[in-house]
Amino acid sequence: MNITLCFFAKFREKLATQHELYTLPSSCEVQELLQQLAQRGGVWQELFDCPKGVLVAINQEMASLDSLISDDDEVAFFPPVTGG
């Protein structure tokens, strides 16, 4: 199944990308996807191997580590928010 990854703020800058099309063999939980991305090493590991430093939204709704990712989802990764 195919999903779209989106990156914002520090994630967008450090990874030098805003979007990526990503293929998963089957539906999985957020934490499994975090592990896969961390396994890319380097800056990916630095950003994704740190559960407290990364927030995840699925289809523009905040998600948690055990939220399920499905086909066609937009999965966004970003640091804790600092608006206001």
């Binding site: 989106c6 914002f8 703020a9 520090k10 967008r12 939204a57 523009q60 709704e61 905040m62 937009e74 966004a76 970003f78 640091p79 804790p80 928010v81 600092t82 608006g83 206001g84």
Partner: protein, 151 residues
């Protein structure tokens, strides 16, 4: 209930916005304005840049206002959050709430700001005088802790 929720590059006029909340039965309007603070712990802030997640920002602000509406008898609410490049002293955010009596308006305005701070997808990058590169502002634990009082 009157609602106006906006994410905008443009500045806002507080007086003009608050007049929209002078509605029938309104006896109290509470507003909060957030500004770009000049002083940071590590130097003089010349400007900030506000990034957001366009597809999510509006939805998340609307959700916060709906939650406030469910807790307090509100007659109107305005949330305007700016994005883009803002110089020191510029206005960043306006939260204004109208109700019949003051307590609901005070509490709902504080509630909306507390949730906006921890849940709405905005990120600040600060530019410090004498430094070419901006740096991302870290979230404060105290912001997350502020939510506890509403649970």
């Amino acid at each position: 209930m009157y609602k106006n929720i906006e994410v905008s590059k443009k500045d806002f006029d507080i007086k003009f916005e608050l007049e929209k909340l002078c509605l029938a039965n309104v006896g109290a309007i509470v507003s909060f304005t957030g500004l770009v603070r000049e002083q940071a712990s590590h130097g003089q802030v010349t400007a900030i840049e506000l990034e957001h997640y366009p597809a999510m920002t509006q939805k998340s602000l609307e959700k916060i206002v709906v939650q406030a509406e469910q807790r307090w008898p509100l007659l109107g609410a305005i949330v305007i959050h700016r994005v883009g490049y803002l110089a020191a002293h510029e206005q960043i955010v306006l939260v204004a709430v109208a109700s019949q009596h003051r307590q609901a308006a005070f509490e709902a305005a504080a509630f909306i700001m507390d949730f906006l701070k921890s849940k709405a997808p905005f990120w600040k990058k600060e530019y410090i005088a004498g430094q070419a590169e901006g740096h991302w502002v870290d979230a404060k634990d105290s912001d997350e802790a502020a939510l506890a009082k509403w649970s």
